[in-house]
């Protein structure tokens, strides 16, 4: 019986393991500064409103419960995101895909909860400085969440087609860094909007 042999192309060179992570960290530094400034402006405008004797939001507009539910949702996503990194680093691929999917699901849930909340409170964006600030801060957070979800989606695709494995995890780790920053931002946002009011 004749044996046919197929020559495989040479393997691609592995990239330096830290380059993508360094780049991601630096980009996220800029993002973190964005949120520092926008939240600082929120806190300052609120302080000025309260100092002048006017109310920031009318009573009942900002309730702790929805904020807590959303916060727990993003906290849960930290576990699944880290699970994805852990599983991929050990080549447990099915678990990694499952974890990435769950992470995306939690992200989707937060978008859903946030949009419901913003609709439910019935404020128009230009109604007052408070509502304009609320929509700016929460809208910026939603934009970050969507970027984080896009990063997770794209790395999931590249993991599915075999590029990320225990030999190369940088893409998934980079996506997880964006995700963790999103969670940190939400934690700050939760404290700023829902807790300190």
């Amino acid at each position: 019986m004749a044996t046919a042999t197929t020559e495989l192309p040479p393997a691609a060179e592995l990239p330096r393991p830290r380059t993508l992570l360094v780049g991601t960290s630096l980009a996220l530094a800029g993002v973190a500064m964005y949120f520092a400034a926008i939240m600082g402006i929120y806190a300052l405008e609120r302080q000025e409103a309260l100092r002048s004797g006017s109310e920031w939001f009318s009573p009942g507009t900002v309730q702790v419960a929805p904020g807590v539910v959303m916060w727990f949702t993003v906290l849960l996503s930290v576990v699944t995101m880290q699970w994805a990194v852990y599983a991929l680093a050990r080549n447990i691929r099915v678990q990694a895909y499952l974890a990435l999917l769950l992470t995306l699901m939690f992200g989707g849930a937060v978008i859903n909860q946030t949009s419901f909340y913003l609709t439910d409170i019935g404020l128009g964006i230009g109604e007052s400085t408070a509502s304009a600030m609320l929509f700016t801060v929460v809208g910026s957070f939603l934009a970050l969440l969507m970027v984080a979800m896009l990063a997770v989606m794209l790395t999931s695709v590249r993991a599915l087609i075999g590029q990320y494995s225990s030999q190369r995890t940088d893409g998934v780790v980079a996506a997880s860094m964006i995700w963790y920053l999103m969670v940190a931002v939400y934690t700050g946002l939760w404290l700023l909007i829902f807790v300190t009011k």
Binding site: L14, P15, R16, R18, L26, A37, G40, I41, L44, V157
Partner: protein
């Protein structure tokens, strides 16, 4: 041993932290406010304090990351990969249109924020397409060590998706452009334009069919010129606007058209009640 990168970022972190606390106190912070991040009192000016404090946190995080990577030194990378010599960090990539398209898409999206939501959505769609294409190209570039194989891999996966989408997109744009031309010119001229375009397409196709040896470049040039011509016509027609249409009420009466278009006064269709006096 502490690395140079760690020492630099840590020094910045300390600098920003000291500045944040001092700034908090000098702008009206209470006794414990600036030290407790506002938990036990006022922090002073919120904007400046938040920016300086987060700058300190960011620098501290970067210090932690960079020392974990041992400054991302070549030797550290080699040690991590357990090879004698670290791989080349980055090679020159294959040429790609997608960075330009992505930047253009961002521009369209932002102009859409100013002008019209339609443009905003169009920009987002273009941005999504370029992100997917960019990702797949980046994936293919690192699939094997042979650029030819990588290109073939990419085309094999993306070709079946790109071709129909591009085809539908191109046909859709051309149909839209022709439709703009047809509703901009007079009713009689629209008939002649339709016949002319159809005849042009038909006879060009016949000419190509009976002369199979026509150079490929000539066919491409003819198609490109035709496409650009129709697009340009569509854009001009869109700018001129629709001709006057007389819209009848819902009794099912036939439309009647008043003929030539008048630039400037045709942006809104006029109802019969206003024009039939």
């Amino acid at each position: 041993m502490l690395t140079t990168g760690f020492k630099s970022f840590a020094a910045w972190a300390v600098g920003f932290l000291v500045a944040a606390v001092v700034f908090g106190y000098t702008t009206g912070g209470s006794s414990l406010g600036p030290l407790s991040v506002g938990w036990k009192g006022a922090v002073g000016n919120h904007v400046g304090y938040a920016i300086l404090l987060v700058a300190a946190a960011v620098m501290a995080t970067l210090a932690g990351i960079i020392i974990a990577f041992r400054d991302a030194d070549s030797d550290a990378a080699a040690g991590y990969l357990r090879v004698a010599e670290a791989p080349i960090g980055q090679r020159l990539t294959q040429p790609s249109f997608w960075p330009l398209v992505a930047a253009f898409a961002v521009g369209v999206t932002l102009v859409g924020l100013v002008v019209t939501p339609v443009l905003f959505v169009a920009g987002l769609v273009l941005l999504t397409i370029s992100t997917i294409e960019w990702t797949m190209t980046a994936w293919a570039d690192a699939a094997t060590g042979d650029p030819e194989v990588n290109r073939a891999l990419r085309d094999r996966i993306m070709g079946p998706i790109e071709t129909p989408i591009l085809g539908f997109g191109a046909v859709g744009i051309l149909v839209l452009a022709i439709s703009r031309i047809l509703i901009a010119v007079s009713a009689e001229a629209a008939v002649w334009v339709a016949i002319g375009v159809a005849a042009l397409i038909f006879f060009t196709a016949v000419a190509i069919a009976v002369r199979p040896n026509v150079p490929r470049n000539a066919i491409v040039a003819v198609c490109l010129l035709g496409g650009i011509g129709i697009l340009a016509g569509g854009v001009i027609a869109g700018a001129v606007g629709e001709r006057d249409f007389e819209h009848h009420e819902a009794e099912g009466e036939e439309h009647s058209e008043s003929g030539d278009s008048q630039p400037g006064d045709t942006e809104e269709p006029q109802v019969e009640a206003e024009t039939s006096e």
